[in-house]
Every structure is written in C-alpha cells, then in structure tokens.
Symmetry: C2
Subunit: 146 residues, 2 copies
C-alpha cells in the first residue's frame, strides 16, 4: 500500500512539475521532463559493435534514444530515429531489414547492432548482425545512424 501511495505522490509531483515548467519558474529544470506517469516510457540504448553476436561483439559506439515526451538522447538525430521507429510501430526488424539494390561484396566482417530498453512500456531486446559494413549502409536506418 505504501507503494501505491508513493505512486500517487509521484503523479502529483509530476503534475506540479509540469505546471511549474509551464509557468516558467525561475528554478528551471536542466534535465528533460520525467517520462514516468504521463507517458508509457520509450527509452532505448543502441549499440554498434564488431563481431558476430551480442555476446562476443566489441561495442564501438553506443547512444541513448528517448522518444517521449520529446525525441532526445545522445543519438545525433533523435527526431529522425524516433520518427522511423514510430512508423514501424517500434518494430526494429522493420528498421534494420531494409532490402536495397546496392551491390555489396560478400566478405564476412560482421557488425552487430543492438537495442535494449523500453518501447511504449514494453521491454525491448533486439540484435541484428550485418555481414559487413556495406550491407549495413542501407540497413542501419536512421535508428543506427550514429
């Protein structure tokens, strides 16, 4: 029961926080608004690594991506990435599974991309392996463009 009470208090704090922001309080928050309570959370960590699988790959780059209430994160183009994810209803396989006419060599120099976190309240853990950097060029989408 204490937890539920805490939840209500949290909700009230969030509403107050929102009002304060609207009224442009002098103590302006330096961080983006908290997503809890108002929106189903959408927060992801994306990685790009060299290797065959999630377990064995060496992470080369990583970025955070939050899509609610606004597109933000260390991702260099969060708006475009969130737009693409939203268009795919959060289905990452539709983002990375792009088929193109690009001619690629067939060498095996795999690159693993991963996405972990939450999409609209649902847990996400996604892995996709590109056979080499050429196949990744079109296949990475906006989401893994970092």
């Amino acid at each position: 029961m204490r937890y539920i009470t805490g939840g209500i208090a949290l909700g009230a704090a969030l509403v107050l926080g929102t009002l304060a922001t609207t009224a442009q309080a002098t103590a302006a928050p330096t961080q983006p608004a908290r997503t809890g309570g108002l929106y189903a959370p959408t927060e992801l960590v994306l990685t790009v690594g060299q290797g065959e699988s999630r377990a064995t790959s060496t992470i080369q780059r990583a970025a955070t991506l939050s899509c609610r209430p606004t597109a933000t994160g260390t991702h260099p183009a969060p708006k475009a990435a969130c737009a693409q994810l939203r268009a795919a209803s959060g289905d990452l396989s539709k983002v990375t599974g792009v088929v193109t006419n690009r001619a690629c060599t067939k060498e095996w120099n795999p690159i693993v991309v991963t996405a972990d976190g939450v999409w609209e309240g649902h847990r996400v853990s996604y892995t996709y392996t590109f056979s080499n950097s050429c196949t990744m060029t079109d296949g990475k989408g906006q989401v893994f463009e970092f």
Copy 2:
C-alpha cells in the same frame, strides 16, 4: 577495411566537431556530443517495474543515463547517479545491495529494477528484485531514484 576507414573518418569528424564547439560555431549542435571514438561509451536504460522478474514485471518508469562525456539523460539526477556508479566501478549490485537498519514489513509485493546498455564499453544487463517498496527505499540508491 572499409569499416576501419570509416572509423578513422568518424574520429576525425568528432575531433572537428569538438573544435567547432569550442570555437562556438554559429551552427551549434542541439544534442549532447557523440560519445563514440573519444570515450568508451557509458549509456544505460534503467527501469522500475512491478512484479517478480524482468520477464513478468510491468514497467512503470524508465530513464536513460549517459555518463560520458557529461552526465545526462532523462534521469532526473544524472550527475548523482553517475557519481554513485563510478564509485562502484559500474557494479550495479553494489548500488542496489545496500544494507540498512530500516525496519521493513515483510510482505511480498515485489519491485524489479533493471539496467541495460553499456558501462565503459562493456555490455550490462542487470536485474534486482526488491521484496517490497520499503526495502527499495534505501536499496535503490541514486541510480534508481526516479
């Protein structure tokens, strides 16, 4: 080989980007600096959910936390959270395993906290279950204080 070349080009772009930022270029980036190349990435998604396990819990809140180059994210206190993680060398079990003298009831109303992503280049996937909200009060640390 193409990939390695791309990596060097990326590094150069990042250095140029950093210089441009230092010189306060008019086209100022609206997003935090990219972490790839200069720092081992540290990017996490943290969740708090009701339930017994990662698989079955309902996510109530989620936040992103980036600790390099600066502490940022949708986490409400990224500096404090990153400081606590750094003090524990990224070991989340040291953050959530705090023993206190707080008297708690023993009812089973579990709360699951998770952390996924990358800590200094290494993949992280952490789950901890608190038996109820009382045990979570001290045990959540700064990291899960959102």
